[in-house]
């Protein structure tokens, strides 16, 4: 964990920790979400609902080939078109080709994490279209030229003043730092975009295999505008975001709003079944569904399969004490927080994110709150083991743990090691503590005192008290 990647990670961490406004925004956001999630657990029989979510997700993922095929067949039967994209490039190329074919000048998007994962916006801009994010939070990060900070609340890190500045630049005039003024401005601008866009791109919270329905769980109404006003609607979704039938949605729709936004239900739950039919009052003429694999099928059947159970509620980010300090951008991937620390190395390769599995104190808060009961902390441990097995451990740690393991089997050698350490530490002890030390010890003493080594270890004390041994 040295080299350019680690240095860049450390810089991102330093930049988050050095920003007092950001620190305040993250922790107050977490406090707010945690209080609401506690309320949910008081109102609902939470463990029972999680049992139901887990049952649906594990069944679906265990039979994903069947449900993906059924979903695709039903979308096509309804008149939609389906693209199975093996990787990010195939997905980008499909949508970019569509933009070119339609001669599209303007593309509006409602929130989609997968489009962030595959880098869709840039590909569409290169294909000649203007791309406008219409989720308020996504619009803010787009204007700022940043990635989403949080998977549910993309602009959770922005203060009102920062949003005012971004919108003022867009407006070409100074707007008031008032939430009402700023949302009214965004609404006005976006309304024009919805009415003139050639293509609308949405994500998909869940696809219903039995009916070919695309279900969106949103709060702002932009999802419905995006999916009904433009002539062409493109759904970009992970191939695992499926449920067998409409009934299976019930536990997910009960849990997701609470876990993700602290709400009993979101303002809109939209179910889109096929493109516009004769006699329909509105809706797109064309519906395209891009099912993105991009590494997901290689997770199927592996020890990490449960990561595909994720319902993208973001509760792990709201619970994580590391995210609380470093925020979403330090992770430098489409999916930040604990889910990202596991998912990103699995999708992009461990070599692309070598520090992420180690950027955790393994406290287990993520596993505890996970709506899909994914053992996130255990997965971080598995990824660490994979990294070491792939030769990713440094020479000094590898040698150190080898020596450690040998010594654990030899209590006398262990006790001798303790005495050596005691003597070695003594020169650094001042007034009963160590305030500076070399090497690894120095990484501790940089910010913390280290306790003095005991004059006699417990095993020595025990021997002197009990002459018989044990």
């Amino acid at each position: 964990m040295t080299g350019a990647s680690r240095e860049a990670f450390d810089r991102r961490v330093d930049s988050a920790l050095g920003d007092p406004v950001l620190q305040e925004v993250i922790s107050s956001g977490q406090d707010y979400m945690q209080a609401l999630q506690e309320q949910a657990k008081a109102e609902l029989d939470w463990p029972a609902w999680l049992d139901a979510v887990e049952a649906v997700r594990s069944h679906t993922i265990a039979h994903l080939d069947f449900y993906a095929a059924q979903f695709a067949d039903n979308v096509e039967r309804l008149g939609g078109r389906v693209c199975f994209a093996a990787d990010a490039a195939e997905a980008r190329e499909y949508v970019a080709a569509l933009v070119k074919r339609k001669g599209a000048k303007l593309v509006v998007k409602s929130k989609s994490m997968v489009s962030e994962e595959i880098g869709l916006n840039r590909a569409l801009e290169e294909a000649g279209a203007e791309v406008v994010e219409t989720d308020l939070g996504e619009l803010i990060v787009q204007l700022a030229g940043e990635r989403p900070f949080h998977i549910v609340a993309p602009a959770a890190h922005k203060s009102l003043a920062q949003i005012r500045d971004l919108f003022s630049t867009m407006a070409g005039e100074e707007l008031a730092a008032d939430a009402g003024v700023l949302t009214t401005f965004a609404r006005h601008v976006l309304r024009e975009k919805f009415l003139t866009a050639d293509i609308g791109i949405s994500g998909c919270n869940f696809g219903v295999a039995a009916t070919g329905t695309v279900v969106l769980v949103t709060n702002e109404g932009n999802g419905r505008m995006t999916t009904t006003l433009p002539q062409t609607h493109v759904v970009v979704m992970g191939v695992e975001r499926l449920v067998p039938d409409l009934q299976s949605l019930e536990p997910i729709l009960a849990v997701l709003p609470w876990a993700g936004a602290g709400e009993r239900i979101t303002a809109y739950v939209t179910a889109i079944t096929g493109p516009r039919r004769p006699g329909d009052g509105d809706g797109p003429e064309e519906l395209h569904v891009v099912l993105v694999d991009n590494g997901r099928s290689s997770i199927l059947g592996s020890k990490y399969e449960k990561i595909l159970h994720c319902i993208r509620c973001g509760a792990c980010l709201d619970a994580c004490p590391v995210y609380r300090k470093i925020g979403g951008h330090a992770y430098d991937c489409a999916y930040p927080g604990p889910i990202g620390a596991v998912l990103s190395p699995l999708l992009d390769g461990l070599e692309r994110h070598p520090e992420l599995p180690f950027a955790s104190s393994l406290c287990g808060a993520c596993s505890e709150v996970c709506s899909a009961r994914i053992p996130l902390a255990d997965y971080l441990l598995e990824l660490r083991a994979d990294a070491v097995a792939a030769g990713g451990g440094s020479a000094s740690w590898t040698a150190g743990f080898r020596g450690f393991a040998e010594a654990t089997r030899r209590p006398r050698a262990w006790a001798l090691g303790e005495r050596v350490a005691k003597v070695a530490l003594r020169p650094f002890e001042r007034h009963g503590s160590v305030r500076w030390g070399p090497g690894l010890l120095g990484l501790w003493t940089r910010s913390r005192d280290f306790p003095p080594w005991a004059r006699r270890s417990f095993r020595e004390l025990w021997r002197s008290r009990r002459p018989s041994g044990s």
């Binding site: 920790l17 287990g364 070491v388 097995a389 451990g393 303790e418 270890s457 417990f458 095993r459 044990s470």
Partner: protein, 243 residues
């Protein structure tokens, strides 16, 4: 027919905090437990396991299995090390000759406060300590072992002790084993918030169940110039025990 228990003193406890092991022995013996100390014990292997070195962790764990082979109960002064044995050993040896032994050791391993409350059924203690105390629930004690109420109940039995709950008690102190030195900047930011909450309670004593977390918290308190007393629960009980 007295209860027998083997003390798991842990590597940190042996070298840096033998006073906590001594206190635990004193408390257990005062409650009529016959305590032994298997001298072949060294470290449970968690540092290697958490760093991804599975084979080295397994070697250490194998030595632990042997060290505690004859124990009736194993009582640990660290929730995290007890959690390693209880939660990780069975998986570490799955499909291996030691699988049964690992599951059996997991089943008879306890964190100290858990052993006192759940096994010994302690509901009254002849302990006095005049202090305003807060408690740090260590993550592995709380989440992996599910030990939350036990230490609070024990503190509630201490005459003269005023218990002040810690705000955001569920948050990690930032120790995380090797995390403290591999990600020292993040670790420090985490312990700083923990220390802020502790100081905010106005407590004059911080109690914990795991010396690794307490070492982190105390180390940061001292560096910030605070002399606030930091103690393992075993020490609080042993020191205040009526003689």
């Amino acid at each position: 027919m007295s209860v027998r228990a083997s003390l798991m003193v842990t590597c940190l406890g042996d070298a840096l905090f033998p006073r906590v092991g001594v206190a635990a022995v004193r408390v257990l013996e005062a409650l009529g437990v016959r305590v032994d100390f298997p001298r072949a014990q060294t470290c449970c292997g968690q540092p290697a396991f958490n760093s991804g070195y599975r084979d080295d962790a397994r070697r250490a764990a194998r030595a632990y299995l042997r060290a505690f082979a004859g124990s009736e109960h194993v009582v640990s002064i660290s929730g995290s090390c007890a959690a390693m044995v209880r939660d990780k050993y069975p998986a570490l040896f799955e499909g291996r000759p030691e699988a049964h032994e690992a599951r059996a050791l997991a089943a008879r391993t306890f964190e100290l406060s858990e052993f006192l409350v759940d096994v010994l059924r302690v509901d009254d203690l002849p302990v006095t300590r005049h202090a305003r105390a807060t408690l740090h629930h260590s993550c592995h004690t709380r989440r992996t072992l599910g030990v939350v109420e036990q230490p609070e109940r024990l503190l509630g039995m201490v005459e003269g002790l005023q218990y002040v709950p810690l705000p955001r008690a569920q948050d990690c102190c930032g120790f995380g084993g090797t995390f403290a030195v591999t990600m020292p900047v993040i670790s420090t930011a985490m312990v700083d918030e923990k220390v802020d909450h502790i100081l905010g309670t106005g407590a004059d004593l911080v109690v914990g169940l795991d010396m690794s977390c307490l070492m982190n918290i105390e180390g940061r308190l001292r560096r910030r110039g605070s002399a606030l007393e930091v103690r393992h629960l075993a020490e609080v009980l042993a020191q205040g025990w009526a003689r």
